[in-house]
Symmetry: D3
Subunit: 287 residues, 6 copies
């Protein structure tokens, strides 16, 4: 057994020397996934006082915000130091982003209050707003998205993705931190929802499980990076379960209703009602 293990160590070691993707030696360090998850959990206590902690007074809020600041600052330093050897610059950026993020916290909370309202109003099975806050996966995914989006906008590497993948893992809802989503956002059940990086979503939009807001094709992979390739959903649109809407030019007009199991790759006019049997305006499918 010892010989075998020595042999495996040697082979892995060799592979690591050959492949530049591995991080050996003390030079590089990744952000810590468990700390980022903890940060999300602590933020939730602050965003929804009284739901995820026994205490909720100002001492608790201030103490928890202090903890969040320290955790976020530490993780930002790790994230920014990836590929940046200038320790002072890294600290300065981490400090600045931390401050900007904190300044946004009250606004994020105000958005979340509206999302709670949308979730409660939209779901006949919801027995109270408290139940929505306490146990709805849709609201959790939106909360994590709204936090991650702030950091995505500030060009923080790794952390927004770690956050949204945490929500994805718990809820099956995969919202890219780059998406832009308006207020009163509603998600029901949610498993299988995919919202791509360049998606734009207006206010009062409702999404059900299995909805994909994706790219028509990702044939060219990395060459598409940064291009608008996901749809635009205007205000008051409802998209029922398992609908697939693809493409950067696909705009779903204000007030439209997209039926379940539809497959849309063309623009939909305002207030349209799209059902499964409809023929698309022209045969516009993925390349």
């Amino acid at each position: 057994m010892q010989e075998l293990i020595s042999k495996v160590v040697k082979e892995i070691s060799d592979t690591c020397c050959r492949e530049e993707i591995f991080l050996r030696g003390p030079k590089r360090q990744m952000p810590q996934r468990d700390q980022i998850i903890l940060l999300i959990e602590e933020l939730r206590k602050v965003m929804f006082p009284g739901y995820f902690s026994d205490e909720s007074d100002d001492y608790f809020l201030g103490h928890t915000l202090n903890r969040i600041w320290n955790m976020l600052y530490a993780q930002l330093k790790l994230a920014f130091s990836y590929g940046n050897p200038d320790a002072d610059e890294v600290k300065a950026r981490a400090q600045q982003v931390c401050g900007e993020f904190f300044a946004q916290i009250p606004e994020i909370q105000r958005m979340l209050v509206k999302d709670v309202e949308a979730e409660f109003e939209g779901d006949p099975a919801a027995q109270s707003r408290a139940e929505v806050i306490f146990s709805y996966p849709g609201l959790f995914a939106i909360f994590v998205y709204r936090v991650a989006h702030e950091l995505y906008q500030k060009k923080v590497p790794f952390i927004p993705r770690i956050m949204t993948e945490y929500a994805h893992s718990l809820t099956g809802i995969d919202i890219n931190a780059g998406a832009q989503i308006g207020e009163y956002f509603f998600i029901d059940h949610g498993t299988g929802i995919v919202i791509g990086e360049t998606t734009e979503i207006g206010a009062h939009v409702k999404l059900y499980q299995g909805v994909t807001l994706g790219a028509l094709s990702t044939r060219n992979g990395q060459m598409l990076s940064g291009k608008k390739r996901h749809p635009t959903i205007e205000d008051n649109v409802t998209i029922y379960a398992n609908a697939t809407i693809l493409g950067g030019d696909t705009v779903i007009g204000e007030g439209a209703v997209i039926g379940g199991n539809t497959f849309i790759t063309w623009p939909v006019p305002k207030n349209a009602r799209i059902t499964r049997d409809m023929v698309p305006p022209k045969n516009n499918c993925e390349k």
Copy 2:
């Protein structure tokens, strides 16, 4: 930094005063999610003796049931005290529901034995009944549902939803605790399954991943609360992957087979075989 945190505390505090949904002060306390999860894990040891614990004799069963009683009683008190200031009444209800739930445990176990049989018989990849019990997400979701349903019937707030969302998070299977599901229930793979609150399901029913048993529309949200809005699935029905069946009047007749990726919003007669290319009896889509 300290000034910024003080400012954030103040703004959050102000929002909490304005918005009645937040729970500040010592008046209200939510059930504890981690305790409810622990309760589920302990119940699983009792329901499937020998699988999730090294011990399985009567001492172990009795000891574990004692622990479950105490955990359940504590959580029921928290749940019932939401919006009810009468501590004695809360205790009495918690006591009563605890007793009624315990009286049902042997029956739930008998149901689960049948579900195991259905899972094993239905899946060619299953190597043994033990493997089904030990690692099948479908069985786990059914187990949690059967427990949560008992509490839902007794009008316990919060706890049934917390339970089923726990299973939802682990399995991607979202069964509302209000659904009524018969014996020998079979779920394969399961990710993306949604079973709505007023769904009725008979015996020997099989469901594959991505199946939605949902409402035609939830346009009126909270106004639909309590109404029958999800389908009825009769005995011996099989529903293949990603089928969508919607509506409170939609009855799938005994022995019917619903093909994969179908979209059904109308009643299906007994023993019918529905495939993807079939035209619905009349154009009946969601409003």
Copy 3:
């Protein structure tokens, strides 16, 4: 309360005596799920040095491989002892499989390096290979599958399934450990993907969320055990979101592109582009 608990203990005890599926007494012991998860987590540190641990030098690799050996050996003994009372034979098999598995570790790592490349190249939203390794659920599911597949091939009971269900639970991607999957495998988003036990997948294949590679029907359940009943996907095939491909005779030819939300139960020729509106060659649906 004590009386009720005694009554419940008695009834459960009776059920356990009647139903042979329960494991009472000291005779049988299941593998330990938490140990198998830990083993996966430790293996990930070895496969991707520097990403999931602060250390990555040879001491760390050797030490971690020692731990993995001990954990795997212990779990293999538990798994092989299920239904095998010969302790010496069990030890010998566990020892042998342990050795064979370790000899494969470097090869598995080489495969994973290629999978990382495929994930990065295929996703415009990926900012770096590091981000792929660190937070992409698709890569995690592939990693777990590649490990579990080695043990499946050696006919280890329980453990491969526990491993893939762990990945399934975290990612919503359900790859049966029996499937055969070539190099440069790409999965995007992933929630809802199902890859059946007898599926064969070539090199450079891309899969999006919600894709099912399943059996046409499992009507005969256990009688189909071991039969080829899932499709074959040749090299360079791309399968877009929510496509369903069913049947053991269904071969998707090299270079084909399967559009989103399609439903395929017939062979697809090389380089074909299948879209949602196409009529199948003959009406071939599940039995």
Copy 4:
């Protein structure tokens, strides 16, 4: 083995029925040792801000005091409910003692600042006041005593003893919570020190390891309960290592110095210097 265990259960059960000292059934519950230890650790963070926690601002202090209040209140209820079936009275007493204790916290802190000064000034090996606060067992024992003494004075059962035994276990210093100890108290090394329940100690007193301030005899055990049976030590007394001073009438006068390994059972005048070879004024030894 099962038979043997059943037999042991039965015998223990029988003993429990015979012996009234055991607490069976749900009627009685003891305070929780781990919670009381946690309370001590949290209080230490408040008493010495910045030493045992990274934070020390007002948010932290307020939050920690809230936690301490809740822990103390819960434990006081458990302690007072021992032998008192009146739940409302128990709550009222717990509430009152909690309030009185909190009102004393600032005064306890002021005493501890003086004790730190005494420890630092008295020990040539102390490199800083910070070292004294951070790692001197003597200071820890004094801190715990000062906290426990407040609760002893309010006639709280169990908790003061649990606190001082915790310090005793960690430091080898056994100070009964009933002792009365003045300001600027100094303990060096400390192992083996015993300070009895009715001891009175003035200000600026120094004690070294192994000093006993005890009763002449405890021949009559419980009959002596409440009687003054331990010595009185006046201001500015120094007592060197392993000195034994016994008896309720034994007063060590102001400024006296008691040499190491002495055995004193008679009053010592002010400013006296007692060494090991001195003959006691009259042959006064323990009965």
Copy 5:
């Protein structure tokens, strides 16, 4: 740094090869200290039902005894396998000792009930028997000794010493598991007490802090192994604080009272009262 560590590894490795006391390779394994401590903690719950656990009914006792059996059996196998390569013999001995120990548990409990009585009666500061059970270090040390002594008598290696050193660490009371101690044993405060391996103590004996019952000299070290070299204390003897009693021929006669800080190396007659100023019968000091 890496070079230095490699150098240290090499030197330690060399030392380990030279010195036979180190246990390298997979051949030998020590009992697990944390498991033995857990075993003691679990046994305490059984010995004093209702004090160290919320539950105390027969289910709890049986379940806990099952756990204790498994833990003890595992540790006995590790202990007996030290220097014994015959696995079957090791198992048989472990099995036998386990059974014999369990058969003694009720008798140990009966002894402890008497010890509680002695502690309560002897200490004026004790407010209740419950306080004695719950927080007296003397009783804890006696409990651990009585358990360890059973295993010492069965010639179990390592485990008795690990147990008594655990108590020693927590209480400062060092009772060798080989000592023989009668019923109604009383220890007050306890720090610094040493009771040697061949000490014999009768019933109703009282010991205070700092008492040594030791060997006159251990000049010849290992050559004295197994010889009677510690004193014999007859029934109803009281020994006050810091008394030192040495030698295998030193018998303290029934009912004698040994004063504090005395130094005794000669036999003391029945009912004698020994004080500090007494001249020994002949000048008999340690060699």
Copy 6:
């Protein structure tokens, strides 16, 4: 309650402002006690391979030494940064001390091998050298002292004291890290032993419980700092239980035997045998 807590926060805050000993704000941070304890526990695994860990091969040693390096470096930075605002200088010192300490590890281990030999040879109750390593508090205290002494010599603040106080807490043996102790050091039982900062001890010295090697007086406290004020013990000296030896001029000559409960404040010639009844050469007691 909220008012009271606010009042307490304010008063503590005020005291903190007044008293300079408290560390408020983000400026200062103490070494972390739990990390230093962990470091000690990890070092023990390296010093005694095979006793405190299942593994003991070179991978394990190298991996553990890496962890120890990182932990030590982090704590050294915290310790050196106390009162030193120059971050680069702090890092450089931490780096240097870390390297020097590691270079000493093999020598420390060689010393410990000799201490084990002395412990085993000296104690008739020791059943094996393994038992000494595994469970003797004396050896543990010596091990911790030898580690802490290295750091004391390098003028590391806080950490040596935290280490020796950890051993003191577990064993009741208080060895100041500044003491100089030769090879083959033997401690039996140990509770109550105090060895002062400027003590010098030769080779093959034996100490029993309760021995004090202390200062004659510490009347002048901090003014004595750094002065030789504790005794010198030459080679092959044996000091029996509870002996007290005081003073910087007190030299115990080679081969001397100091009887139990003696009190020595004057030089003792080579090979002398001091017993309790001896009159000191001149009446030389503590000042």
